[in-house]
Amino acid sequence: MSQQQADLDAMYQEIILDHYKNPQNEGLRDPFEAEVHHVNPTCGDEVTLRVHVSGAGDDAVVADVSYDAEGCSISQAATSVMTELLIGRRVSEAMGVHEQFLELMQGRGQVEPDEDVLEDGVAFAGVAKFPARVKCALLSWMAWKDATAQALDRADNPTEENR
């Protein structure tokens, strides 16, 4: 098998194609504190993503992440895997997972993923060799980070209405 073919198969892992065909935690749900809409301007992939955070401060927990997304296998699978990884974790821990995933994706195939942290996310190691697809894998992770920041911000600075 050529290197070429090997790289391709490393990207399109069975696990990724599974998540693509059977996305987890799909759909938009209540309750949520923040909803964001992110777009990949290059290709038009889109995600609408909601975050529900419970608790506050150090005890804040990612209670739910729900979404409505349209995109390629990589971006769809990444969203699905992300929700499995993050829902139920402390926000501080989840941010750490986000960091590690980001590092893996930007590592051009040179970073060794930690399976204990990233679980199914390690399947994306092969994507890092395709710079054009890294943005696909990161789209909903970026959306999650953005939404979570907004949710925490609102918890800290409640406006008149939701105080």
Binding site: S2, Q3, Q4, Q5, D7, L8, M11, Y12, L17, T42, C43, G44, D45, E46, E70, G71, C72, S73, I74, S75, Q76, F130, R133, C136
Partner: protein, 423 residues
Amino acid sequence: MSDIPGLLPGLEVVRQDFPILERRLAGDVPLVYLDSANTSQKPQVVIDAMVDHLERHNANVARAMHQLGAESSEAFEAARDTVAAFLNAPSRDEVIFTRNASEALNLVANTIAWAPTGDGELGIGPADNVVITEMEHHSNIVPWQLATERKGADLRWFGLTDDGHLDLSRVDDLIDEHTKVVSLTWVSNMLGTVNPVAEIARKAHAVGAVVVVDASQAAPQMPVDVQAVDADFVAFTGHKTVGPTGIGVLWGRAELLDRLPVFLGGGEMIETVTMERSTYAKAPHKFEAGTPPIVEAVGLGAALRYLGDLGMEAVHTHEKAVTGYLLDGLASVGGVRVLGPTDPAERGGAVSFELEGVHPHDVAQLLDSRGVAVRAGHHCAKPAHKRYGVQSSTRASSYLYTSPEEIDALVDALGYTKSYFKV
């Protein structure tokens, strides 16, 4: 080489003019470049003309009095003559060099927005409207959104029919006595549709509107005659006509260029500058602020001469032949839905399609692993994608150097894609 009627004579030799076609990609597979609507490849003569200019004649233009300056100015202005001839423009002074087609379209939109408003004036105000179409490239949408928003004018859109044509049924409602500008693409970069530009220009002129034609996809593929098409402004871009990036062209009717206010300010576009006020040069210099794209003009001149030598009629015939072969090939794959007209006689060489069950990114990725370069995404035509209920598509676009064997390679690779994704 397969024998399809209409192919460019000596295609094998023509292909040798393009050094990049010898490139081999990862896995030592040959390059099959089917992304020419995005940007075209460059023949050796264009590269050589640029190199010769940089190595032997480089100097600034117009301002320089020395021998290199004279040589450089002459080469630069000769390129303007070449463009004028390519477009059959009545005057070389109507040819403005811009950065790309996008800047050319923005130049028109901005100067019209700055022009005085009122009856018989070029400017747009709250009572006026601008008409564009749902199949425009973003570069012919956003400038008009910005201009109409700034001036409070109305932006109207030609809709599209299910089979990928402009919906002309409402033309007389759309273009009315308040219409100041009708701006449309000649050939769609997504659907491939060739629009009836002259017919629409006639309607627009009947109400006194100015007609802007985006010829970015037409200029590479078919003879463009600005007089025959009866437009007021025509824009195209160098890098799609086998020329370099960094240069585009705006052709405009002398009388309108005269009346429009200036665009960007700076060197070259002035007549005189004082602290109190400045006066401006005549077109084309009026619209060319700062050092122009000199080596790019030299490259573009060589590119258009190359196309002229092949003959734009021959290029057009080739494009239609290859596109027909491509459409047949796609039909044979199964699960392929083409967006836009399916009769090669009615369309240009950009063919966007969906492959059932596989996202365009994934299609493009698989094709790329076989050396086949296509584009996946919205091709800077989001409204048109939305119109057809798709978020993105895969686009294969051929050009004068495309061979039937390359189409075969695409069709093959699509079969492989289907089997890879088990659809």
